[in-house]
């Protein structure tokens, strides 16, 4: 029952996670990996994709099994499913590149407890058809990746003078170490939220100006 009724087309289900209900910027979920691994674009990307993979796979499975799982053990079952996929992704990543795996550290394993995944499983996948669940998961996962990259780009650019490892400012650039350090993570995410809030406020203000006033 979600929420969204059947008549709705699949497209909004997909875009919702990207922007309007962006898991990081709007719902403020999964903050730990967001802050911890976003110190470079490549890390952000890897983490985002890993999360995306787990999200899609577990959403699909949860949706498939939604009529089988008894209510009392549903959370436990979801967690087991998610943990399985996380382990799978963990090994897959180790097989692909140990360096990236090392950079992401324990946060790959911590995807298990990323609230986005359990949240989508419970809120959406368990109540929707497989196709819709996968679409939603993909939207959310990409939204998460997008947010991570937003952070990673700023932090890598200022903190290291590079983007995706390519030197941007030249050798004379003095990197801002803070951006790589924990406070930088907080500041950059906070700044992004402020920027979005500012935009939202501004558009609300212009909307209010257009709308004819009731009073009178």
């Amino acid at each position: 029952m979600t929420a969204t009724g059947m008549s709705e087309s699949i497209w909004p289900v997909y875009t919702r996670g990207l922007w309007r209900e962006n898991p990081v910027f709007v719902m403020q979920l999964g903050m730990c990996p967001t802050l911890a691994v976003s110190n470079s674009v490549i890390n952000s990307l890897s983490m985002g994709l890993a999360t995306l993979a787990v999200l899609v796979a577990s959403s699909a499975l949860v949706s498939l099994m939604r009529n089988v799982i008894p209510k009392q053990v549903r959370i436990a079952t979801y967690i087991v499913i998610i943990a399985t996929f996380v382990t799978v992704v963990d090994y897959a990543l180790q097989a692909i590149s140990l360096d990236i795996h090392k950079a992401l550290g324990a946060f790959i394993q911590l995807i298990v407890v990323n609230c986005i995944i359990l949240g989508r499983a419970e809120a959406f996948a368990s109540k929707n058809s497989v196709v819709r669940a996968i679409t939603d998961a993909a939207g959310m996962g990409l939204g998460f990746t997008f947010a991570l990259i937003c952070l990673g780009a700023v932090r890598e650019l200022l903190g290291n003078g590079s983007l995706l490892g390519f030197d941007v400012f030249g050798p004379q650039f003095e990197p801002w170490a803070i951006m790589i350090l924990p406070p930088g993570g907080f500041f950059v995410l906070g700044a992004w939220l402020l920027v979005f809030a500012w935009f939202k406020e501004r558009s609300a203000r212009t909307a209010a100006r257009k709308e004819p006033s009731h009073a009178g």
Binding site: M6, V73, T77, Y91, S97, D99
Partner: protein, 236 residues
Amino acid sequence: MSEQAQSNPLVRRPVAENAAAETRKMILTLSSVAALSGMLIVGVYQYTLPYIEANREAMIEKAVFTVVPGGVQKRAYGFSDGAVIPDPASAGFGERFYAVYGEDRSFLGTALEASAQGYQDTIRILYGYSPEKACVVGMTVLESKETPGLGDKIDLDPVFKANFKALDAAFDSASGKLVHEVTVTGHGKKINPWEIDAISGATISSKAVGAMINRSLQTNLPRLLPHVDALKENTP
């Protein structure tokens, strides 16, 4: 809207009238899901294992051959009650070290791991030791969270790295001690070959590296040096 009806909270669930059956269903579901997961994980694990091992091997190799320049081949050893055992079972470094051999299968030295608390967190390094020269011949950082631009120079600063090209580690077997303790001096104050010239502004990280090498040499040389000849012979 069938789904909607199904989870509509206004339709009360029957309360535990069928509790035993429900419990059975719960157990069945969860254990079968868990079993399936177990299967899946094992499958993936076994499938990826060779790749991961290969990756890991490559990484170790790279590190080992950086710290012992000229090395092309290596062999893992473990310490065990006064003996060294080739190719120990457990993975990782830890109580292991590597014997490194050159192009001509000649024994060049060993690569050992050391770790200590740095400025932010524990620093782990791998360093090469050449019994021949009685010197540390190279160092690379395996893991550190030191401040970028400051503490992380222990791995990036060529000047600092130069300290470890030939760091005196002469061992006096009579006393069971290093002839000269490895020490860290202030930036630009290095005089003796057993001193490490600290990075300016990152004294703590520098000192941590010095201290860990010193400690590692002190504990490992007594149990390593007696077996050097064996290492020389046991070429891979």
